[in-house]
Symmetry: D2
Subunit: 347 residues, 4 copies
């Protein structure tokens, strides 16, 4: 089998580094280029010594994009929001496939970027060419896409946790999603808000009812439910490096029992390699840390007739770079689990 030649545009953030790590261990990928504005010209393994002996590339400048595209079958973009939107056009897509890890191609309605990102999307016409890259729900579209919008970390966990309910017409408002993330979700940056002594031994809610993953969650839930759905979404910052846990609350129709709900989830996910519905446990983030898995637990509060779905992922893997590699496998006809068989690393 031929190697997939890849470039990673923006390889110095956490999702970029994680792509490098996963792709170096992928049997059919070959990293041709890594870029970074801040580290241009520096050796990757000197900037990130955990890669000593594993990668012998220097960071290229982001300005070399066109040249890199010529040499690659696939580019991963891991840039701040609205930079990929500028860079990815039909000319680029003629040369190479693209998986974008930012939000730039996730929303179908361009006006949502004005509302949630305070930015006018520079290429709204591209939005309909992009496929929302959640393999468990859009596998076929991904297979034939040239541009995949890799979902947000919170969005991945929330959507995987709730979408099976649509099949049984059980997903309806009110919908409340209380989400918690480790600090790496905030990206790799010199920022007082994510300084060790400011985050450690503390917990906070942030962007209450205003987090940018809200519209992509609503877009996908509404699309599969075939009806507009709104939710209240509250993210929290947890003093740990990795992991997302989503606690989702849905009102349940009277006649539905826990075993019915479990059956619905099991039917959907039983053959999915990366989603496990736990029959009798509530998942912990450490059970998926370092792996591309999503684990889901289900509880019915009989007193209030409410379903509580708890979903966990590793925000940097299934919530970002692992899912991107999963999308790559699909786009290039590789077995979907190729290079992604890592088990959770615990403790």
């Amino acid at each position: 089998m031929n190697e997939v030649k890849v470039g990673i545009i923006g390889a110095s953030g956490y999702t970029g580094q994680e792509l490098v790590r996963l792709l170096l261990q992928h049997p059919h990928a070959e990293i041709n280029a890594v870029t970074s504005q801040s580290y241009t010209g520096k050796k990757f393994s000197e900037v990130f010594p955990s890669f000593t002996g594993a990668l012998d590339l220097n960071f290229a400048s982001n300005d070399r994009l066109a040249g890199i595209a010529d040499e690659c079958d696939l580019l991963f973009f891991a840039l701040p929001h609205m930079l990929a939107a500028e860079a990815v056009d039909d000319t680029l897509l003629d040369k190479t496939k693209v998986i974008d890890l930012s939000a730039d191609f996730r929303l179908k309605d361009p006006s949502q970027y004005d509302t949630w990102y305070q930015a006018t999307h520079p290429r709204p016409a591209m939005l309909n060419k992009a496929v929302y890259g959640l393999p468990e729900w859009r596998r076929t579209e991904i297979a034939s896409a040239r541009l995949v919008a890799n979902p947000g970390c919170y969005a991945t966990c929330t959507i995987l946790s709730l979408l099976p309910l649509t099949g049984a017409q059980l997903l309806h408002e009110p919908l409340i999603v209380d989400a918690k993330s480790g600090v790496s979700g905030a990206g790799r940056a010199a920022d007082i808000a994510t300084a060790f002594s400011e985050c450690n031994e503390s917990l906070k809610a942030y962007k209450v009812a205003s987090h940018r993953h809200t519209p992509e969650i609503e877009q996908e839930l509404s699309s599969f439910a075939s009806t507009p759905l709104r939710l209240t979404f509250t993210p929290h910052l947890v003093p740990m490096n990795r992991g997302i846990l989503v606690t989702a609350y849905c009102e349940l129709d009277k006649s539905v029992a826990l075993e019915d709900v479990f059956h619905i989830y099991d039917q959907k996910y039983a053959n999915e390699p990366f989603v496990k519905v736990l029959p009798s446990a509530t998942p912990e983030t450490r059970w998926v840390k370092g792996s591309n898995s999503c684990q889901i637990g289900l509880t019915v509060d009989e007193r209030t007739r409410r379903l509580i779905v708890v979903g966990v992922i590793d925000n940097l893997i299934k919530g970002a770079s692992g899912q991107a590699v999963q999308n790559m496998n699909i786009m290039f006809g590789l077995p979907e689990t190729t290079g992604l068989a890592q088990l959770a690393v615990l403790p």
Copy 2:
């Protein structure tokens, strides 16, 4: 002013230790006895070297309770559930006042102990003699009580965060409380579930829809709302020592604006020394760590017309031992903030 002579029955857990710490720094308290079954006869400061030079007492056996009661004006009980229920009777209360930090006297309806604690309460007649010791809401009753049931940590934070809504008839179902606690809330014990490497770098929900603080929260909300209220309560374990953060979700009547809600909370709490309603921030647990404060932040999700209340406390102080000292101050006619002026210790 005379000293209040106190004994701490069960002083080797985290709430017991914290009582000792706070009472040693209290200008009108004198610790006469500390007990522990596991450490009987040992010097307190050798078991807990942070107290070196500060306390010159040995642990007495719990069996010495009657004798200790004779010498004390007040006993704090910090024992596992159902031990205080056995020990506290009218005879004891004739000798000494009691503040119990367990759940044994919190619920008015004895059948709730069967339901939630899988235990038959041994002295149901005492339940109506006990006052639920949440000073901001039951100050007068506490002042004249001989037996105070110190509220649970989650319950304190949840009730303080929601009760002001009752004054304006704004508290009604559906009610969802998503709560998060540091690990010290699980107590001081050799337990694999709270071992460092099992909790650190992980997050989990636990006792989903079945946590024992649920009935005391419902009891107090229902009491002040003058109507039965049920809620879904989901606790989570966060890898940090101290802190509780409660995110509570309530449907909001159409006409109510955020400023109305803020006004309601401000009216209730403006003069409370230990509750602060933040005008423009969402509280973080570190802002109250080491203090007896509760901080509350309010957000209205205009898209879904839902109120999101975020409350934080230090689970060992306002959620346990600090509140117990606050209750002591009230019961003995001391200014309520005596010995409790500590500001949060951060980072």
Copy 3:
């Protein structure tokens, strides 16, 4: 007793915040001014919400120094290195006493600043007017000083751990000090090196054999030993907020037993309120977290005839702001423990 009117020049770092916290709880101090360049004009308690309701001051600009000095009996400087050296001259000291928490007045030999700080000291003549503010060893000088150089955090812990040996002529080379600090020791700054996800779950040595606290340690050890002493000093960064632990290694003369060493330490420190020599335990940093204490443990490795001294402090209290308040108490004739009786907060 009159209040000591104080100003805190540079109150937005961790040592500045900690000074504010301790001084607000000090019965004889009154905070007249807090300054900050980045937050000038902002309300202190809005920048640091843990002080809500406790301090009603806005940050002044550092440029207001002269005016602030007029209104204060004492200024604490908590600025980056070489800023106090510029600002503190005889004119200022005529108006007010000064305790400087930076390194600017700690070293007697101006050339050491060139060597270790890569900076020429702007006022070398002031160095001999300053007293090295380690109360347990320079109490009398501090009492009459107008300018006190508050020791470095590592230096405090190392010097307290080793100096008693000088009395018995037991301190001699080779001397190795392996030190470990929590992350707050690096200060409050937006810096990728102290970002949560870069420090958490990791440990590193840094500035190996080149840390700037080395010369002040050598200065004090040499001064009391009356002979030049050099040591190898290796600091490490530990994923916790607070705490310093120093492990010091000294060769031991053949005839000296552990009990002899213990006796030497005990004689020196038995009456010190803030230094405890543990008779039978090795101290942990949590035993002093939140307090102004230093705890010391002693071990003799009989196999190699080597003494191992383990000392712990809270780097922000005994290692910085608490010690500064201790110095203030001495300088103003207050009992040395005033405002510093806090016991360790654990867990």
Copy 4:
């Protein structure tokens, strides 16, 4: 190539779990049995849900050892000390090869077990049949061994960090090793000493000058130096899950420069797949977390003519289970890196 059929005797501790994880991802190993006393009969993946879908075995009882040995080419023992010493005899070794992760076969001199383990070794005659399994130094012996004693975690890191000096006769007393470990090194157990709230936000030295890895370090250093060597060894417990960092101090002969030392290390390790000598950085534990690597940094303190070697490993991988798999590869003629190519997982 045939599969190596393995059994893991004691698979419920952290090293046992980690063996399972690594061997499941090993292309030429097949796990035939996992044992545990506490979980006998339970499904492995129900006890450890991170293995859901990955391993379909139940825990067998340790009593089934003989039967398991019949079916396996190799047994890994990961039991508490002195249990493998009882179980492993010539009869067993006739059936199967053994890699023991405890200390039971590491020391050549049986009397050392009395001194350091307070236990009389039950089969002293086996000690000389065992090979100390540090591949970088005893590769040939390991290849032909039937019984390999997998080194201790601290010992691995210390010996790898110091042994190259023996080649140039530069290793001599005084030798001081200040070592630091994450909490998983203490094993998986319900123990108050490793409870989250007792370890988190704290640092301590423990077993000062009395840790059991001391004699195996001295045995190996002395063996390669061809002269008896003693060291002072002080371990510390760091609030993180994984990682060991060793800071070793050696007096340096006058004429030796840093580049000489670097050359010595580089010559020894340049072709080692799992040991990297960093040319210009001091290693951090996160750079090897999740990998089988050891990274080493070198500094010369010119002021005191002392060499400071900093070495890091992941205590559960290169310090235990990864090294055991490396030994397995050698014992069965597989390429030494088989199944061990994982890069560090960070953050």
